[in-house]
Amino acid sequence: MILAETGVSVFSSLFSNFWVVLLLKTIAVMGFFLVVPLGVGYVEHKGLAHMQARLGPMEAGRFHGWAQLVADGVKFIQKEDVVPAAADRNVFSLAPAVAMIPYIAILVVLPISDSWFAENLDVGIFFVLAMSSVSVIGVMMAGWSSANKFSLIGALRAAAQLIAYELPLVIAAAAVVMQAGTLSMIGIVEAQQDLWFIIPQLPGFLIFMIAAFAELQRPPFDMPIADSEIIFGAYTEYTGLKFAFFLLAEYGGIVAFSGIAAVLYLGGYQPLPGIPIPGPLMMMGKIGALAFFFIWLRATYPRLREDQLQRFSWLGLIPLSLALIMGVAVAKVAF
């Protein structure tokens, strides 16, 4: 492992040329985005099959269906790229990219250890929240340009959901920022040297995770793609690689939000006291555990109804998160 002082990117400590460092950072972030979310997708496919005792994904590659990911990839590449006749072609084609790019951007500030990161922005967590809300524009573009009523309803539901759950998400993150006294992702992790924030901020962690599920439109908050009502929401008309990009955006989102939750509440790359596990392994382990939790809940909970979903945020989570931030402010001044 390469050692560097805290807060200095490993890339900057190895090379001094700006363009070389920039190139290496881009390659590292893109590599991370192309590898880790695919792993999550694989676990979702195989893990869900196990949880539901389905035999489908047990065939590919003979032994235990290990080659399912390869089979899925080949299937997506083979499919014809269909654009509906009435669709707005340019917006339709641009939408998967707009949905995906924000999650790549989030990975730029995600610290894997105190030196393994691409950028340590002064406004780190704020940048992350800004990016996560941009992704929905891609879903709205997809839903509208498909020229399909079900797609449009799906897009509207996605937007309404984002508006409702963005508030508790930002407020829960703000409560952590208040306790840590910094917006920088590295700074927040360093502030948890003695005590992970999940202990003093347990309600905040629960609010953050619920809101993250809703932002990613994962079950039980998958009303925008409710297949029994609106086929597949905004993605109904998408096929082949464009559809695969939306899936990649979803898995990238799971990795990004797992990473943010690990940084905010689970001490990021900080090891457990007394157990000498290196920082990057610790961080990846936390991301993996939270990502598994995202998948697990899909097999466990039924879907909320649209009105229940809105009511739950506006009358439940938002007042709760406002109370939380007041509590944290009082505690911050008092202690």
């Binding site: 009435a86 922005l121 800004a130 941009v134 399909n148 963005e166």
Partner: protein, 166 residues
Amino acid sequence: MTAQEYAFAVIAAVGSISAIAVVTARNVVHAALYLVVALLSVGATFLLLGAEFAGWVQILIYVGAIVILFLFGLMLTKAPIGRDTLDNTHRWVGLLVAAGVFAGLAFLIQDAFPLDAEPFEVFHGSTSVVGESMFRDFVLPFEAISFLLLAALIGAIVLARKDEGN
């Protein structure tokens, strides 16, 4: 020219072209999407000036919330689905108002910052600097604006609310 000036030229060109496209687009949803690009370039200009916090606030609030509300409202009401188009019949009035605003702003800005003035030192507006000046030097205006926004919020709820029985 410095690297910063080259970057500004690119960002300003992208922002201006997309701003013009917002008003010339025949399709309201396209106009809203061009607005996203225009607002992103305003955010990028803030970043270029070293105002990191203001830049990301611009993107979180305008792109992440306001444009999404725009699109939501448009799709729920007027937006034709797919490739249909709409047009606005008030384009001459719009042109007049836009020209007036442009002339006023151009006069004020070149009056305040003449071309031959000393160039500013780029000031890195870190979050703690912004926070300190806002809550130390400008606490009263800040509270006044908060109060105004709260009043507007309550007003909006009162207007939008449908009482039972009416």
